[in-house]
Symmetry: C2
Subunit: 104 residues, 2 copies
DNA sequence: ATGGTATATGTCGGATATGACATACCGTCA
DNA sequence: TGACGGTATGTCATATCCGACATATACCAT
């Protein structure tokens, strides 16, 4: 993992191990996080493709602007569940969702 | 949706609409549920491929037998999150996960 | 500067998911 | 039949997630 990525993750609340257990992420954990980040990016792209603001998107998702922001930021408080449901609600195809995940 | 599928879903606690709103699932909701079911099947296949019991799998996942059963049953109390994390923990590749999702 | 719009971050109460336990339901074998 | 290994179902306390709100930051106009 690149140092920059690592720092970013730590800031967001991910338990990326301390110095002692540097790189303490198991491959599965890393993979899971990357999936989430991939879905985050897909969500932002989907929103921007339709020229929507986060506020508009939030309304469409029956959620709030702050949660949309967190989703796009890959915040540790958002689940894959929410990301997938949101993508689908914004009109992304299952195929597109799969593609995002696969690229992780 | 086939009637059998519907009955199965209702039993598991899915809010598959009442008679008045028959087929009241939006395409996204239906799609989301199908993804979960696809992942459930993948999980069972992954487990069986390695000739593991649910108890053994539970230990590997640091969970319980009952939760593994619910995961494989597509119970409404299990999230896509858990399914994905479990599949990865059992050694499934991101590619395989994506494939399951895509087929939904 | 001041206002306006878009996005980001922090926090919190209520909602949902999770692991664990108990228990029920199979098959199969002695 | 009864015992046993495996799976399913029901429930519960706790942990985690979610929507919402407040507030902060950033950029662009006037």
């Amino acid at each position: 993992m690149k140092a920059a990525t690592r720092k970013k993750l730590e800031k967001k609340g991910w338990k990326v191990g301390s110095a002692a257990e540097l790189l303490g992420l198991t491959p599965e954990e890393a993979c899971y996080i990357e999936m989430k980040l991939a879905l985050s990016r897909a969500l932002r792209e989907q929103r921007q493709k339709h020229r929507l603001t986060q506020v508009q998107t939030a309304k469409q998702l029956k959620s709030s602007q702050s949660r949309v922001a967190k989703m796009e930021a890959g915040d540790s408080s958002v689940s894959i569940d929410l990301l997938v449901r949101s993508l689908l609600a914004l009109g992304a195809s299952p195929k597109a969702v799969a593609k995002s995940i696969q690229s992780a």
